[in-house]
Symmetry: C2
Subunit: 224 residues, 2 copies
């Protein structure tokens, strides 16, 4: 009997990354989740990610600090000056965020000798984000294998975005089939101090529409 292959999964604690971690587990992988303290205004994300990791019984969960806030450039790191009017890319896009997070995931995958690096990129809901497109994922995988000892030692790292072409409703159905508790997850850009979702931001609206299309109630708390 051979050991389970290892997978490093980027985990924000939202619907997509949580479902991706469940997919990695369903593949039979030993799952290692990675979250980032990157200056996001949403500390609740890190709490939810840790609870999700625990619920999924992952082999390890780590939080890596990386100070993207000091570079600015996005509403999500508190840069209120970003004005996305006239651009196809939303104000909540953080410059090169997926690339920075995947690169740190690549470092961790190389240390662990992982076979898979997985993340929850989705080209349906986030069509305006360049780093959520399938051609980006393929280019990252190509670069990653040239960057590391995987190639030089005859192995290959597979960079996977298993949800990239799924609708939110399909993602939720898949996650439920894999036993995900979406009550632990977090999506809102503007939660109140109790962590309750606003129900009105882009992220909440995408989430709520997904649950509605799946014909299911959303188990998280929304502020009254």
């Amino acid at each position: 009997m051979t050991a389970a292959p290892r997978a490093v999964v980027l985990l924000s604690g939202g619907v997509d990354s949580t479902t991706t971690a469940a997919v990695a587990r369903a593949y039979g992988c030993e799952v290692h989740t990675l979250s980032f303290r990157y200056g996001q205004t949403l500390a609740v994300e890190l709490e939810r990610a840790a609870r999700v990791a625990e619920a999924l019984q992952v082999a390890s969960h780590r939080v890596v600090p990386v100070d993207l806030a000091s570079l600015g450039g996005s509403r999500l790191v508190g840069d209120a000056h970003v004005d996305a009017r006239g651009s196809a890319i939303p104000a909540t896009y953080v410059p090169a965020r997926n690339t920075v997070f995947l690169s740190i995931g690549l470092a961790w995958a190389e240390v662990l000798g992982a076979r898979f690096l997985m993340f929850g990129a989705n080209a349906v809901d986030y069509s305006g984000y360049p780093d959520c497109r399938p051609e980006y994922v393929a280019a990252f995988e190509e670069m990653a294998n040239l960057a590391t000892r995987f190639t030089t030692e005859g192995d290959r790292l597979h960079v996977l975005a298993p949800l990239v072409d799924l609708s939110k409703a399909d993602i939720i159905r898949l996650g439920l089939a894999l036993g995900v508790d979406y009550g632990l997850t977090h999506s809102c850009y503007f939660p109140d101090p109790q962590g309750r979702a606003c129900g009105a931001c882009d992220s909440c609206r995408i989430r709520l529409r997904g649950f509605a299309e799946a014909g299911l109630p959303d188990p998280v708390a929304y502020r009254p």
Copy 2:
């Protein structure tokens, strides 16, 4: 008259990255340097990088914290368990370090609207490092343009490693022609508390051989 194109340059304060910053300046770029506090045992690196940036009169110099030490995997972040015997890759290789640093440089380049992202990769002295090869640089550039708004907005970011095929002696000659003061730089893996170089580690030996081949004295202090 058009504005000077912007270049983001990764700067460790060593010979190669310092020369790369001087090359960017010689290209007529507005130069923005970026250093990383990544858990390196060598804090002296960051001091020297700041002095180099000042001497080169760069437009901006930033230090971004990113905690690679918590992932382990290299002697350079204090992981004494790394054993490179039997591997073609040295124990001082930090997993995916260039990729992580270039990714953060990419974020900064996107915020600044920079045209160039440059770093001091060298395939002559660091032939065992997979992320110092020209094919890696090309793959990173390809990925970077798919990752960001450069492509979607019709521009292209150029990822350049202008020293990749030069010997250390040629790098030093080039830097001197561009006015670099190598007395400000730092290369040693094991400096003493005064910051003086050991003269014996791999990095010192490569540096000393470069100055010897160039027929020049090395201006930095070595411990007696």
